[in-house]
Symmetry: C2
Subunit: 257 residues, 2 copies
């Protein structure tokens, strides 16, 4: 039997500590090809690069591992991997992450990590987005790697239905400080911004986004936000039919059909 | 009663013909403030700018209309409008578009137009994304403006439940060539890429995304893709809970809970 091939990507860039952690998770399960952005692409959502050429370079190669840096978005990296680099191969799993910062609740929509995971799930294999609730560059990924391995192991061992895309968020803490894995739904909420204003060295006013998350259901204990806050590793399966079926019914009275 | 305030944005940039068309739609219903990207932001999805300062400038002002160019993404524009420029005002509606190119099916996930519309729906008013199935810079927006006015008029005249976000796509053609409005669900499908490869003037190989949409349900007549292809204006209500509830149930056997 051919060895399993795993695609790893992220949004923090090929040189981030989180990519190394994701590769560590993946290597236990097969041969690894990583295609990650040249530069940080946090908050890039499911963006694609339509109006610029993109450059690819191999940055590392050793037994069972190749790492490429690609000058596009996280989704561009996934497309480059499936539709060019690995076109003739069968990819068994996509891992995106491990992100420096959580992607719970509505962050799934803004996250480049989850954008890439979602894109991966369009290619006929399971996709797992892994995020750690710590933005620092030298975050401690021990628990995230441990739980990443456990979750990926389960996904690969079972007969899971496709498409399958998991949004996994790991709280800060050593493994023995976490309670375990909790299946959740996406917490409802949104961000409100406080624009930081300042003058640049040329005297032009600039703005910088700084937001605060508004949790619309702080009491609900079945959400990813709750799980994270209570030291559980949250797992939310993600789908991509954005249709609002409740509104679809209600609007029938207005627009016919 | 105060005059209604409408926020207009897009992803093709403040100078695009589509923005002028969206402003034309909006002006029939109240005072208009437009905040649109400085440059084209197609394919930017729900991306936000986290690591750069952003610049704002007013590019036009006349009775009942102000237009701003903002150096960020479409979602940044919406945040700038609600959380800074219009912080003290009540916005009654967001219109994003009119996009040069359709945003049916899975394109809702990649689209900067729809990213902005979705973001707008987080601020307590209805949001309408308008797209025309024609990528050309000098596309004919006559039918899109007509149907845009009709749909916005219905949304504002009725007691709609919030959140409400509509993904409206208008086929190419004169108004009398279109059948009318069709409420739809999002078509299932995905893109496969053919990477265009070439050498730049310095001899470095580059890649450029060129994709093809794979329709997973070409026969289904209740989808936006079908409607567009059959000269109907498609209206898909969009929601933002990405939780895959079917998988949530199935995965209970693997991850407990």
């Amino acid at each position: 039997m051919d060895e399993r091939l795993i695609l790893v990507t992220n949004d923090d860039g090929y040189a981030s500590k989180g990519l190394a952690a994701a590769i560590e998770v993946a290597r236990g399960f097969g041969r690894v090809v990583a295609v990650a952005p040249e530069t940080t692409q946090s908050g890039m959502s499911q963006a694609i690069t339509m109006y610029s050429p993109l450059y690819l370079r191999k940055v590392r190669e050793e037994e069972g591992l190749e790492v490429y840096a690609f000058s596009g978005t996280p989704v561009d990296c996934v497309k480059m991997a499936f539709d060019y680099l690995l076109r003739e191969e069968r990819v068994g799993l996509v891992i995106s992450g491990i992100n420096h910062g959580s992607n719970s609740a509505v962050n799934v929509l803004y996250s480049g990590t989850m954008g890439a995971a979602i894109e991966g799930s369009f290619y006929g294999c399971p996709a797992v987005g892994l995020s750690l609730d710590d933005h620092s560059a030298d975050a401690d990924f021990e628990a995230a790697v441990l739980y990443g391995k456990r979750i990926v192991g389960e996904v690969l061992a079972r007969e899971v239905d496709l498409p399958l895309c998991l949004n996994v968020n790991v709280p800060v803490g050593k493994p023995d400080q976490l309670h375990g894995i909790k299946l959740c739904r996406q917490n409802r909420g949104f961000w409100r911004e406080e624009f930081y204003r300042h003058e640049d060295p040329r005297g032009r006013e600039y703005f910088w986004l700084t937001g605060e998350f508004v949790n619309m259901e702080p009491g609900a204990d079945d959400t990813d936000e709750w799980a994270l806050a209570h030291r559980w590793v949250s797992v939310v399966p993600v789908q991509t039919d954005m249709t609002d079926y409740r509104q679809l019914k209600k609007l029938g009275g207005i627009f016919g059909e």
